[in-house]
Amino acid sequence: MALLSRQPWLVATGLLVPLLTLASPGWLKLAGVPPAWAVLWLLPWALSAGKRAGSGAGLGLGLLLDGIHPGPASLVPGLVLLGWWWGRMGRKAPLIQRSFSLGLLALLGTALLNLSLMLQWALLSWREAAAVLGGVERLAGGAEALRQAGPQAALLALPLWRWQDLSTVGLQVLLAQTLLTALLAPMLCSLQLLFWRQLAAGWRGSAV
């Protein structure tokens, strides 16, 4: 029931996340990378609402954000996992209300979210490359020259993150976003946590 009472606020604030992602100002970026607004919103919500509500919100938010980022990689697995994990941690509220703890959780969460994306890109790249190589192998038959000449251009043309790019630029994106989100989390997440808890307390008070 507490969840139901918070629904309008949940929806209203949740819709702000994709809007903030689109309108992220240039001065709030590190090396051109914006903070993970989804993490900054999901962390306090999941801590106050529990693991089911947390993972549900992660699913909804992931679907919203996937809509504005066309492509095969998805934020859903990472956000669902984070919502569930932080929801479980919510029981130990006094320990994680401290700013440092919120910053640390946001840091770990952003790193996990980025790692989930890297893993997806790596798997997609591996699968597509295997498909291309298999196709070339079939076309080449037993001709060694064809097998040697074929794969390179086809592999280069695959429109995916390559492993070399992931290990260099991907790592930079991960570090920049993790650092920036962890710096913002103590300020933004503690305010939201207070808001969600006051809302829950108000509902309980009115129910009594």
Binding site: L22, A23, S24, G26, K29, A31, G32, V33, P34, I68, H69, P70, G71, A73, N114, L117, Q152, A153, L156, A157, L158, P159, L160, W161, R162, D165, T168, V169, G170, Q172, V173, A176, Q177
Partner: protein, 246 residues
């Protein structure tokens, strides 16, 4: 032997009186030999306040730009006519101006969001140009917006060629501001400073749109040389772009 007689002082006196004129004569000879340099310099110094100002320079530049524009239009018309004669696809159709309403030049998705969508005729795969050249292709559309995948996105692949040597290659985003050009030949005959354009052989983008300038070449890359390209259109600063409608 009769002693040598020196001229009398009375004869030399007129010559001594002429020395200022001799000096003037020497000065004139110097001016002649220096091709009037002191006069030109003095004139330049004195007339500096009256030199043509920046406004006149602007007029001249504007006139030059107008001339270039007219010449460009003429060349494009001629190009269209010749492509028509050869039954090649049209270089470009209508251009649609669109405002950039959101930009993500860094991160996992390097894209722009434009304020024009399928209702205005924008479709997936349409080329998007900014002042300077091509910046990306439309990746998806909604009725009123469209998402442009930038050339710097690691998922971007565009066929290009080098304007000078006419060697083809594949431009791949690296996630940084400078994409990588992978050549399809062992000896592409390129050097830093060469301008690259979209390939006329490409079926994805209109031909001969400027893309960028080659900055650094790795001739030893395997299987073919590679080059880093500085894009000519600044995707992280542009506010308005043009979508090339087919």
């Amino acid at each position: 032997m009769a002693p040598v007689r020196l001229p009398r002082v009375g004869v030399l006196l007129p010559l001594l009186r002429l020395w200022p004129w001799v000096l003037v004569l020497l000065a004139l000879v110097a001016v002649r030999l220096s091709k009037g340099a002191p006069f030109s310099d003095a004139y330049g110094l004195l007339s500096r306040p009256f030199w043509p100002g920046s406004a006149q320079q602007e007029w001249l530049s504007a006139a030059g730009r107008l001339g270039d524009q007219a010449r460009l239009e003429q060349l494009e018309r001629e190009n269209r006519r010749l492509r028509g004669l050869l039954d090649l696809p049209a270089a470009q159709g209508r251009r649609l101006q669109a405002a950039v309403i959101s930009r993500e030049p860094g991160g996992w998705w390097q894209q722009l969001l434009l304020g024009k969508g399928s209702l205005q005729g924008v479709g997936e795969g349409d080329a998007v140009v900014a002042p300077g050249g091509l910046i990306g292709l439309v990746a998806s559309t909604t009725p009123t917006t469209s998402t442009v995948r930038l050339l710097s996105d690691p998922r971007s692949r565009v066929g290009v060629w080098v304007g000078r040597s006419r060697h083809h290659g594949l431009l791949s985003g690296l996630g940084t501001g400078r994409p990588l050009l992978r050549f399809l030949e062992k000896d592409p005959d390129v050097r830093p400073g060469d301008v690259i354009f979209t390939s006329p052989a490409s079926t994805l983008v209109p031909p001969n749109l400027p893309v960028g300038v080659i900055q650094r070449i790795d001739a030893d890359a395997d299987p073919a040389p590679e080059a880093l390209v500085q894009l000519s259109a600044p995707a992280d600063a542009v506010d308005w772009v043009q979508v090339l409608l087919p």
